[in-house]
Amino acid sequence: MAWEPKIVAFLCNWCTYTGADLAGVSRIKSPANIRSIRIMCSGRMDPTFIVKAFALGADGVLVSGCHPGDCHYVEGNYKALRRVHLMKRLLRDLGIDPRRLRLTWVSAAEAEDWAKFTTEFTETIRELGPLQLVEGSGTLVSATAGNGN
């Protein structure tokens, strides 16, 4: 079977998750490569989730929340914006193409945008190919020293 990109998407409860739901209810076609994870706010998106997703086999990670100014919690999406910008630098330094991480804004009404962004992103990941972790990388998240206690 041909390789298909695996994409983990962290979607905020108030905008994008509802927007993605609307896309489904409206029968708008969007790629089946997206694995959605609902979080309360894009500001809840801890960068440790991103490295964990890559370590466990994701080829791309999408973070999507409310448009700037529309955050249900006032400024959580701005936190996500800054974190994604810094996280792209970290991924670059860790040898992972920063294009494998994308941030989008999709409101609860923008089902068409959801379909468009996910299609675009899936194509980007398809061009980049599978993320092949070097042997000896943490392909499984193991109990590190810090997890004691």
Partner: protein, 337 residues
């Protein structure tokens, strides 16, 4: 006289600072001597590997193992010490999290050898020779350990009972742990559960930091040589990249008290899986901008984010090492066929 419990301390890929931290317990060394027989401690006395190999299994009560696992000899010694010891402790940041030797995981064996033996300005090596594990000499075959692509932590090679973080662990903390061990041995108390981090706290460096914290809003990052920091205000609020929020407490916040930002040597706090990603969370949150271009300009001021945030824990991080996409794009592309 009853035989005393045996203590060992071994160094793998390490600098020797961990040994110094033990010797720095000063007069308490006499208490250590009273409580233990030294079974193996190459830094301070002339023990040989064959002495350890000859010991019965589990005959060493406590082994403090410091240093990361960088080559085949380190791994052999880790397995040997595990076999001979009842309690194996990852002592110090290298054994626990890879520490500075673990930063080599930003490269691989080939790029390290190319630079160290061929390209560095001080190298003269016209024949391009690099170390190989086995060499034929007139006297016979000689062998050196095999160098690996990836530096590992102790617990990626053998089971580890306890962890003592720090680069090096603070001597007072080291002594407190030894004192507890002596108490357990002499009074028959129960050992803490395996996997416990000893000699450190369960919070972050910020919890020990006496500096005053207000609202953090950073417009510009600065490096320590660029400013004389205010003695009472949070260093991060002054624009310094301080790893305190993503670092375990236990050191007494010595660096930050002296005006030097936390470098993160006590490693990940309890419950955190990845120190670098956690630093991204902490630092990005306080950048004072909502404009993507300005954010990019501000984070341009953070020199070497991954090397700074993972300075002590790359080998123990979620991804453990750099991936090939940046190191050798061509090699990665050819593998994808």
């Amino acid at each position: 006289m009853a035989e005393k419990p045996k203590l060992a301390m071994y160094w793998a890929a390490a600098c020797g600072g961990c040994e110094i931290s033990i010797l720095d317990i000063e007069e308490h060394l006499l208490d250590v001597d009273a409580a233990f027989d030294l079974a193996f401690f190459p830094c301070i006395a002339d023990f040989k590997t064959k002495d350890v190999e000859a010991m019965p299994d589990k005959s060493i009560t406590v082994c403090l193992f410091n240093g990361a696992i960088r080559n085949s000899e380190n791994e052999y010694m880790a397995k040997l010490m595990r076999q001979k010891s009842v309690v194996l402790v990852a002592y110090g940041s290298c054994a626990a999290e890879g520490c500075i030797p673990g930063l080599a995981n930003f490269y691989d064996k080939k790029s390290i050898f190319d630079f160290a033996y061929k390209e560095s300005p001080s190298t003269v090596n016209p024949e391009g020779k690099v170390p190989v594990p086995r060499t034929q000499m007139p006297e016979g075959e000689i062998e050196i350990p095999e160098f690996w692509d990836t530096v590992k932590t102790l617990n990626q090679v053998v089971d580890v009972d306890y962890y003592i973080p720090g680069c090096p662990p603070q001597s007072d903390q080291a002594w407190a742990v030894i004192e507890t061990v002596v108490d357990i041995l002499q009074n028959g108390k129960e050992l803490p559960p395996a996997g416990t981090v000893l000699g450190a706290g369960n919070k972050t460096c910020c919890d020990e930091c006496p500096r005053e914290r207000k609202e953090k809003k950073i417009k510009k990052f600065v490096r320590p040589y660029e400013i004389i920091p205010d003695p009472d205000t949070c260093l991060m609020e002054q624009g310094l990249v301080c790893c305190g929020p993503a670092t375990r407490d236990g050191c007494g916040a010595k660096c930050v008290k002296a005006g030097i930002p936390c470098r993160g040597c006590y490693g990940v706090p309890a419950g955190v899986s990845d120190q670098g990603a956690k630093m991204v969370a902490a630092l990005a949150s306080v950048i004072d901008s909502e404009d993507p271009e300005e954010i990019e300009r501000i984070i341009d001021g953070i020199v070497d984010p991954a090397g700074t945030f993972y300075r002590f824990s790359l080998a123990a991080s979620t991804l453990r090492r750099v991936q090939l996409e940046s190191l050798r794009p061509a090699a990665a592309a050819s593998q994808e066929k």
